[in-house]
Symmetry: C2
Subunit: 121 residues, 2 copies
């Protein structure tokens, strides 16, 4: 699969894919005889995971740490699991914060709808 196809599949740019590879988040991707990238199924799996986690706001730094641990093999299993659990908690916290903000936003919109706005923002 070419870089273009992968970029389209996951709705990201070629630039971002090359950038992720450069910083070691994915790949190194195999290249054909004229130097063109050919993404493997395994590459795609990684990209899918990375993309999903990035869209949830998990930092590149953390993801890099995770894939580096993964590439070190079996012995890092426990620490990888701990890393994921920590991120899970952070994510849950973030969702909670955002849900609270959403509730306030909804309340404010209600005030607009019922013309009950007070003198604050």
């Amino acid at each position: 699969m070419t870089i273009k196809e992968v970029a389209e599949k996951f709705d990201m740019t070629n630039d971002t894919l090359r950038y992720y590879e450069k910083i070691g988040l994915i790949g190194p991707v195999k290249k054909n005889s004229s130097g063109i990238r050919d993404y493997s199924k395994n590459d795609l799996k990684r990209i899918e995971f990375i993309k999903c986690m990035r869209s949830a706001g998990i930092s590149i730094e953390v993801l890099k740490k995770y894939v580096d641990l993964y590439d070190k093999g079996e012995s890092t299993k426990d620490i990888r699991q701990q890393l994921l659990e920590k991120e899970k908690e952070k994510l849950e916290e973030k969702i909670k914060t955002m849900t609270e903000a959403l509730d306030k936003l909804k309340y404010k919109i209600e005030l607009y709808k019922t013309d009950k706005l007070d003198k604050y923002l």
Copy 2:
């Protein structure tokens, strides 16, 4: 209320408060005879709102637009409401995305716990 007290109350830095004021997101805050800021109740209400929306990831640009509209008065009521509704939708979408990522993360953690990891990340 002094900048220090406000910063503590909302868990942010003095720098950020001054920065928000500089870009017109809050204030201008009244100053006493020796140039020290004295935040009013109204200032606090704005800061609370801004802080809450920022923690949900709403951009400074959007918030600036909202407060500018607010300061233009009654006539901008409808457009402000629309702005909030648009942000509400964006926020709902973001929460959805993050919840999906959270589910995948939980699933992956389950795989770790039950030792059923396959050969991908």
